[in-house]
Symmetry: C2
Subunit: 388 residues, 2 copies
C-alpha cells in the first residue's frame, strides 16, 4: 500500500449555470485541478466520475467517456452513482486504486446540473434517490424525509428549531469569503427562524439550494509526487463506506445514521486515527439536521450532543472544531454528483493553508469529509492528513 496524495484540486463556482453543458463544467474543474497539481494530463491512468441525475437533467447517460474528452485525458473512465454520495464513491475507488498500486495518477470528481430543470422536475429527479416503491409513491420528498428525521431527533434527544438555525447561520457565515460558494450572504439566527416553513421543523434556511457545479481532484501515489517534485502536502489516509436500508420505514432509529457510523469507523481504522484527532470537518449538511447527524456518526459528538454544537460555538469558525468552513452544502451549494469531491477539495485547501478560511485552522493536521446519499442509505467518509 502506497500513500495517496492530493496533488491538485479544481472547482467551478457553484451556482446557476443554465447556459453551460455538463462537460463544460467538468472540463473547467479538471483544468483547474491540473493547473493546481502541475501534473501532465497525459499521465492520468483512470478517471472516476460521479453524477446522479444526468439521465433526467441532461438526457445524458454514459457520461464518463464525455468527461474524459472534456478533461483532455485518454484512459479508462467510469461513472459512479450513489445519489448525493456519487463523487464520494468515485473518489473512494480512486483512492483505493492508487493505494493498491494499480495506478499512479487518477482524476476523480463529479458534476451535476440541476438549475436547468423546472422546480417540480428537480424535486422529482431528486426523489429517485429515495425508495420509489415504498417512499416516493407514498409522497415522501427529501425535505419531508429529513423533517421526519429531525422530529425523531428532537423526540429522542431534545433540541429545537433554534439549534438548527445556528447551524444555518454558521454555514452561511463560513461561505462569505469562499469564492466558489453559491450564497455568500449572511443569514442571522433570527432570519433563519423567521423564514417560511418547508416541512416542519425545517424552514427555508434549513435546506441546501439547487446547484450546478463540478469538482475534480488529481490523486497521485506518494512515489509519483516525489519523482515529479510535486507540492502535494495533503494525503488521503483513510477511506470508508457504509450502506443502510433505503426506506426510512425499515430503519430502527430515524435519528441515527449507521451507514455513516460504519463509513467513519472504517475510515478512521484505515487512517489509524480516532475521532478525537480530527481538527476540521466537512460534512453533508443537505439539511441542517443532517450536519447534526453527521457529527454524531463521525464520533465528534455523542448521540444527542451534536444538536447544540453550533449554538455553543464549538463548530463555528472560531470554535474548537470548525465544521463546514467551506459554507457546506447549505451555503456553498450542492450539485449532488460533485459534492463529495468538492468537500475533499475544500478540506485540502484548508489543510494546505490556501483556503480563505484557513486562518481559522492554522494548526489543523487531520480533516474528515462525510458525504451521504439519500437519507444516508449510503455514506462515504475520508480522512485527510497533512503529510509533510
Amino acid at each position: 500500500m502506497t500513500d495517496v496524495r492530493v496533488a491538485g484540486v479544481g472547482l467551478t463556482p457553484f451556482g446557476s449555470h443554465p447556459e453551460r453543458s455538463g462537460r463544460d463544467l467538468f472540463g473547467e474543474a479538471a483544468l483547474r485541478a491540473f493547473e493546481d497539481a502541475a501534473v501532465d494530463r497525459a499521465d492520468v491512468e483512470e478517471l472516476n466520475y460521479g453524477n446522479f441525475m444526468g439521465a433526467l437533467a441532461e438526457h445524458q447517460g454514459h457520461q464518463a467517456p464525455l468527461m474524459a474528452e472534456a478533461a483532455g485525458v485518454s484512459c479508462p473512465a467510469t461513472r459512479y452513482e450513489s445519489a448525493c454520495a456519487s463523487a464520494g464513491v468515485a473518489v473512494r475507488e480512486a483512492v483505493r486504486t492508487v493505494a493498491a498500486g494499480d495506478a499512479d495518477v487518477v482524476l476523480a470528481g463529479g458534476m451535476e446540473r440541476m438549475t436547468n430543470l423546472p422546480t417540480d422536475e428537480v424535486t422529482e429527479g431528486l426523489a429517485i434517490a429515495a425508495d420509489d416503491l415504498y417512499e416516493v409513491r407514498a409522497g415522501v420528498t427529501f425535505p419531508g424525509a429529513y423533517a421526519l428525521m429531525a422530529n425523531a431527533y428532537f423526540d429522542a434527544y431534545g433540541g429545537s428549531r433554534e439549534d438548527l438555525a445556528h447551524v444555518a447561520s454558521k454555514n452561511h457565515e463560513n461561505a462569505l469569503p469562499n469564492e466558489y460558494a453559491q450564497y455568500r450572504k449572511e443569514v442571522s439566527v433570527a432570519e433563519a427562524m423567521d423564514a417560511p416553513p418547508v416541512a416542519e421543523p425545517l424552514h427555508l434556511y434549513d435546506a441546501c439550494p439547487i446547484t450546478d457545479g463540478a469538482s475534480a481532484l488529481v490523486l497521485v501515489s506518494e512515489e509519483y509526487a516525489a519523482e515529479h517534485d510535486l507540492d502535494a502536502s495533503v494525503a488521503v489516509t483513510g477511506t470508508g463506506q457504509g450502506t443502510d436500508r433505503m426506506a426510512l420505514g425499515d430503519r430502527e432509529h430515524l435519528a441515527r445514521t449507521p451507514a455513516a457510523d460504519d463509513a467513519a469507523d472504517a475510515a478512521y481504522a484505515d487512517a489509524g486515527v480516532e475521532a478525537a484527532d480530527v481538527d476540521v470537518a466537512e460534512v453533508h449538511d443537505c439539511f441542517t439536521i443532517a450536519e447534526v447527524l453527521a457529527l454524531e456518526s463521525l464520533g465528534l459528538f455523542e448521540p444527542g450532543e451534536g444538536i447544540s454544537a453550533a449554538r455553543e460555538g464549538i463548530t463555528t469558525a472560531d470554535g474548537d472544531l470548525p465544521v463546514n468552513l467551506s459554507g457546506g452544502l447549505k451555503a456553498k451549494g450542492h450539485p449532488v454528483g460533485a459534492t463529495g469531491g468538492s468537500q475533499i477539495a475544500e478540506l485540502t485547501r484548508l489543510l494546505r493553508g490556501d483556503h480563505p478560511n484557513s486562518e481559522h485552522v492554522p494548526d489543523a493536521e487531520v480533516g474528515v469529509a462525510h458525504n451521504a446519499g439519500g437519507t444516508v442509505a449510503s455514506a462515504v467518509v475520508h480522512v485527510l492528513e497533512v503529510a509533510e
Copy 2:
C-alpha cells in the same frame, strides 16, 4: 495480488418480466449465485452493481442500497454505470478489489428493466448512451449508429449482409438449449436475410432484443475458496478497460473499436495470455456487426477477417473458436445493465462444464468476455481460466 475465483453465478431468465421490480430480479440472481457458490451471504464485504437506465425505467436512482437489501447482504454497495458495459465495469472493480486484498468476497452483477417502457421511450432511453449534443439531437439512434459502422466496415474491408446473417443464425442456434435465453428460436440465414430492414444494412435479426433480467457473480479470493473448500475452479485472471471518443463523428475509423483494443490488450497482459490462447469467447453482439468488430478488437481475427468467421464456421458451436455459445445479446437477450455479468456467468458455466453448450468446448481452458458501452466508447474485457 491474489487469484480471483468465480465461486458462483446466478442469472434470471432473460425476457419480459413487466410484473417484477428490479430488486426482485436482482434478488433472484443473487440468490442463485449464493446457492451456486455455497457461500454465506454474511461473508460478502462489498456489492458492485451495474444499471444503466433505472432513473428512466423505474424512476429509481441510488439502486445499490436497494439491491443490497434484495440480495440480503449488509456491506458497502455501489452502482456503476457505463451504458451497456455497466455490469462489466462493476465486475472489473470487484475483481480488482479482491485482487488487491481489500476484500475476500464481493458480489457483482447488474440488472435492467426495459420492457415495461413503451417502445419509443426505450429507444429514447437507450439513446442517452450516445452523445446528446452531437449525435442524439442530430437524429442518431443505436440501430442507425451501428448501421453506419457496418457500412464503414463494408467499405473498408468488404463483406455483406449475408455474412451478418450468419452471425445472427449462429447465435440463435446457440441459444436453443440455454434455459436463460429470451429467444430459443432457430433463425436461418435466409430468414435473417428476408427480415424487414431496421437501418440498412441492418435488418430485424441483426439487432438484439429489448430485455429484462439480472446477473450476479460471487467473486472470492483464492485463499477464501481454499479455506471454505469451495468448488471454484474458474479464475478471473485478467481485466482491462478502454475509453474512446463518444461521438462517432470524432472517431478516426468507424469500423474500428480502439476502446476494446485497449481493454483486450490490458486484460491479456494482466492474465499473461495471448489472443491465440483463447478457446471460447462471449462478445457484445448488440448488433451482428458488433460481434465482428469485437472479434477483431480481441485479436482473434485480423481487421477485415472477422466478417467471414461465422459464415466459414470458425465461430460456430462446432468451429475452432466458438463465440457466443450462450446465444449472445442477439438471442439470449440484452438487459443492458446486467449483460457484462451475464457474459462472465455464461463463460464460467462453459469452462466448468455445466453449461448446456459445454459439450462444444470440452477442453476449453481460456475464455474471454467482451462488454461494450454505446458504440464502444467504453469497453471492458475479462479473461477467465480454468484454474484447477
